[in-house]
């Protein structure tokens, strides 16, 4: 009989109480089993490791770094970064919000088609977008060539700098806002719109006074994603010669080789990212984060656009043409030109395989690490799980280049055997994209009632057995979605890949970058097209998974 029981001492140990784990008999909450909290705490520590190391590293030089940062036009770099973030975020919202509303709530012709293709620009990495912008709109680009043959124009104004970078990043990142707003619109209770109509407001007034105010939290959430994406973008700003934090850090690291200063700059950038997170929380205000309202099973009745159908249609078509159609057409054109000029695809298979291998590993590791964290933080609320949850989202605000730098320092000093290995690269991916896996799995698990685990427990199953037989099977959809997201983002990631790839480990991203940096656009086009093609697989999976209410 003794073996049948778990004996818990009446007075919990001091350490256990400090950790908030409380002994079962009197703390009022169940203690998390070690299979959950141990890996969760380990994951949380791993997530902040790069940040902690960056701080330590920049403190290395004592007050010297602070002085250098002051001298180094840091304010100028910060201002340029802020300008880019502001322009891109506003422009993305202006494109995404109307597009989201049109594709979810109106009788826009080909609605379903637009709602799929407007998300697809996400598969195009910013460095690919940037070289296409240079190729097409540069001073002596394709547009100039076309205009010269017509009007004899020999040179166009320089596309480099703020406007070129803003145009590139906006066209590639607005889908983040779009997805967020669309999810928000699906979650809105259609009864509210109907209520407004019944109170005598027309459909346009209803849009303005009921629908739009409710879109605010989802616009803010999406804008945060866009802003963080812009801040941490490295490819576009480097190719378009617009010196923001990422490029400055890279230059500092590669050329000046002052690592403490690079670390200091990274910290300033991380502070900027965190202030964006705070700003979003403020903008969201007291309204609740968008969440599908329960019982909103009925689709909203569609707004009749009437004569506005065709301008709306033109808008959707123009956005799609600029953000997806043109880039793909240009890529195809340059790829064909490249192959005609003797570029070979064969050499790229190895790099493509490397890309898939590293990103796939990252996806698997991120998902496996996220599962215990999700269960622990949702089922065992307490001080430890509160801290774990916050720390797990660190990567969300960490730019790739900062994480890469931190790991290089760390590897060089403490883990020399890991330095320049695939393991360190995969670890960087996991730190950076862990929140995506976490978010997807979390939202699936939120729908799993705690009563299910309790039922299994009342039927005599142990915690481990419940995890295997009930919890995990129900989390599979979220795990697949989370894995697909991590894979997709890791495939595109440039700065971490550039800095951390083992010697001789070429990926699609690095080969595109190498060619584009030297302005060998025909050479860059082939791997870029390959990258887009590979990314299309997880993207298709994610799009098919998107809820289709309101159809």
């Amino acid at each position: 009989m003794g073996a049948m029981q778990t004996t818990v001492p009446q007075t919990g140990g001091l350490l256990r109480r400090m950790l908030g784990l409380g002994g079962v008999p009197h703390a009022g909450r169940r203690r998390a089993p070690a299979v959950l909290w141990l890996p969760s705490v380990a994951v949380a520590i791993a997530m902040v490791l790069p940040l902690v190391y960056l701080v330590e590293r920049s403190l290395d030089g004592g007050g010297e770094v602070v002085g250098l940062l002051w001298r180094m036009r840091t304010a100028e770099i910060a201002f340029r970064s802020a300008a880019l973030v502001a322009v891109v975020t506003v422009a993305s919202a202006l494109i995404a919000a109307p597009l989201a509303w049109l594709t979810v709530r109106t009788d826009l012709p080909l609605r379903r088609f637009w709602s799929v293709v407007t998300v697809l620009p996400l598969v195009i990495p910013s460095y690919v977008g940037a070289f296409l912008v240079v190729v097409a709109l540069g001073p002596r680009g394709m547009l100039q060539g076309f205009l010269e043959s017509l009007f004899g124009i020999e040179r166009l104004p320089d596309i480099s700098g703020l406007w070129g970078a803003a145009l590139t990043i906006t066209l590639l990142s607005f889908p983040y806002t779009l997805l967020s707003v669309r999810a928000g619109l699906w979650g809105q209770d259609p009864a509210l719109d109907e209520m407004s109509r019944s109170l005598g407001l027309g459909q346009w007034k209803t849009l303005w006074r009921v629908t739009l105010p409710q879109m605010r939290p989802s616009i803010a959430a999406g804008s945060l994603l866009v802003a963080l994406y812009t801040l941490s973008d490295f490819g576009a700003v480097s190719l378009l010669r617009y010196e923001t934090f990422t490029w400055a850090i890279y230059l500092q690291y590669e050329t000046a080789f002052n690592r403490a200063l690079a670390a200091g700059l990274s910290l300033v950038m991380i502070a900027a990212a965190l202030s964006l997170v705070v700003l979003e929380a403020q903008a969201r205000g007291r309204s609740r984060y968008y969440r599908a309202a329960t019982g909103a099973a009925r689709p909203a009745s569609l707004v009749q656009l009437g004569p506005w159908r065709w301008p709306a249609f033109a808008f959707a078509a123009a956005v799609t043409a600029l953000s997806l159609g043109m880039p793909l057409a240009l890529l195809a054109y340059w790829a064909v030109r490249g192959i005609a000029a003797g570029e070979t695809v064969e050499l790229l298979w190895g790099n493509a395989l490397n890309s898939v291998y590293a990103s796939g590993l990252a996806a698997v590791v991120a998902v496996l690490a996220a599962v215990p964290v999700v269960v622990f933080t949702l089922r065992y609320p307490g001080r430890v799980s509160w801290v774990v949850e916050r720390l797990a989202y660190t990567g969300f605000a960490l730019p790739g280049i900062a994480v890469a730098l931190a790991l290089i320092f760390f590897g060089a000093r403490f883990a020399t055997p890991l330095y320049q290995t695939l393991a360190l690269l995969v670890f960087a991916y996991v730190v950076l994209f862990f929140p995506q896996a976490l978010g997807a799995i979390r939202s699936t698990y939120l729908q799993v009632s705690p009563r299910l685990s309790e039922s299994a427990m009342s039927l005599g199953k142990s915690t481990t057995s419940i995890l295997w037989r009930v919890t995990l099977p129900l989390m599979v959809p979220g795990m697949l979605a989370g894995g697909a997201l991590v894979f997709l983002t890791a495939m595109k990631e440039l700065p971490a890949t550039l800095l951390l790839s083992p010697i001789g480990f070429g990926t699609l991203a690095t080969s595109i970058w190498a060619a584009a940096e030297e302005a060998f656009f025909a050479r860059a086009a082939v791997p870029a097209l390959l990258l887009v093609a590979v990314s299309a697989v997880p993207t298709a999976f994610l799009i098919l998974r998107e809820p289709r209410r309101g159809q």
Binding site: M1, M4, Q5, T6, T7, V8, P9, Q10, V24, P25, H26, A27, G28, R29, R30, S449, R451, L452, E454, S455, A456, M457, S458, L459, G460, K461, S462, R469, V470, P473, L474
Partner: protein, 350 residues
């Protein structure tokens, strides 16, 4: 007397960040093979009591025994999966990724008997043939019976049901609770179930335990609970009841509606008597002491609400042939010939 299937002694539980005990010095004993209803308004602690017995919560103090085995107490806590209990939740909590048969057989480790036991359990609940269905392909009533079969299949020492019928619509609920009662009696299962519905508690329970604000008010048969409530809370919570002040005059107890049908020399000052609507009758009278303030038609009867001159209101049941208009002046008379419960403050007095 045999060992009770469930025995709670002095169980107290307070949740973090709350100022009152969710359950205070709770004592309960459930006889093997009986059905015990835990009845109370929301927040009364009835679900907490159930979850402590199940092992999903640990008591702060007190002990819980199941079949004579200490499962929670000082220095000892047996986890839910080792208590040999069965649980049926309000939302059924069927595993959505498993078939009906896999759900029902979930708690049976021994593969050689699993098929046999699943068929038996499904036969008990009248769902033979639905083995291969998925939970979402079943109606609400069927899901509820699968949940019951799943909990019964491992032959638990005690079956715990948390508001098991509240997700069913009115008509189905009456039918299902009769079926569940028959199944529990047929299988001889000890069952503890939580409800806030007094009809359900009085119908299902061999005994009923009434809780309020974490404190056990009374444990008794449904008849005793109704006719001789142990506290004023129970009197007000169960059925319809009103109170009138009682005066002791020369060994007799009087109220404005007449004399109580038993003598008393000891009744305390300030006592009030519980009157059910069928304890009283009314007749129109210009010199009556009340005025009809409301009338509810209930089919074979009317329920009248009468405002008395002394400032109290009583409800009176009358045959449907005795139809009076609101505003009629009436004489209210006590007609009951049984002993009624009297209270001073919240406490019962004789």
């Amino acid at each position: 007397m045999s060992v009770p299937a469930v025995q709670c002694t002095g169980v107290t539980k307070r949740f973090p960040h709350t100022s009152a005990d969710a359950l205070h010095e709770f004592d309960l004993s459930a006889e093997a093979g009986s059905i015990l209803a835990l009845l109370g308004p929301s927040g009364s602690g009835k679900t907490t009591a159930l979850r402590i017995i199940a092992g999903f919560e640990a008591p702060d103090s007190g002990t819980v025994e199941i079949d004579g085995r200490l499962v929670a107490g000082p220095g000892r806590f047996v986890r839910a999966d080792r208590r040999k209990i069965g649980m049926v939740f309000q939302e059924y909590a069927l595993f959505p990724h498993l078939t009906v048969a896999a759900n029902v057989g979930f708690g049976i480790e021994d593969r050689s008997v699993r098929g046999q036991r699943v068929s038996e359990a499904l036969a008990h609940v009248g769902l033979t043939g639905l083995d291969a269905r998925m939970p979402h392909e079943l109606s609400g009533g069927q899901q509820q019976r699968v949940a019951l079969a799943r909990a019964l299949c491992p032959q638990p020492s005690v079956l715990l049901l948390d508001e098991p019928f509240s997700n069913l619509d009115e008509a189905l609920r009456k039918q299902v609770r009769r079926e569940v009662r028959d199944i529990l009696k047929f299988t001889g299962t000890t069952a503890l179930f939580v409800t806030h519905d007094q009809d359900e508690a009085l119908f299902m329970g061999d005994r009923v335990a009434v809780l309020d604000q974490g404190m056990l008010q009374q444990v008794a048969t449904p008849e005793e609970i109704y006719h001789t409530p142990g506290t004023r809370f129970v009197a007000e919570f169960i059925g319809i009841g009103d109170f009138l002040p009682v005066h002791r005059e020369e060994g007799r107890l009087t109220t404005v509606a007449g004399t109580l049908p038993w003598p008393s020399e000891t009744m305390a000052e300030g006592a009030e008597v519980l009157l059910r609507p069928d304890d009283l009758t009314i007749s129109p009278s210009e010199s009556g002491q009340g005025i009809i303030s409301d009338r509810q038609f209930q089919g074979s009867t009317y329920l009248y609400e009468v405002a008395l001159e002394i400032g109290r209101t009583v409800r009176v049941m009358q045959h449907h042939t005795r139809q009076y208009d609101v505003g009629t002046k009436v004489d209210v008379r006590l007609i009951a010939e049984h002993r009624m419960a009297c209270f001073v403050g919240g406490e019962r007095v004789e």
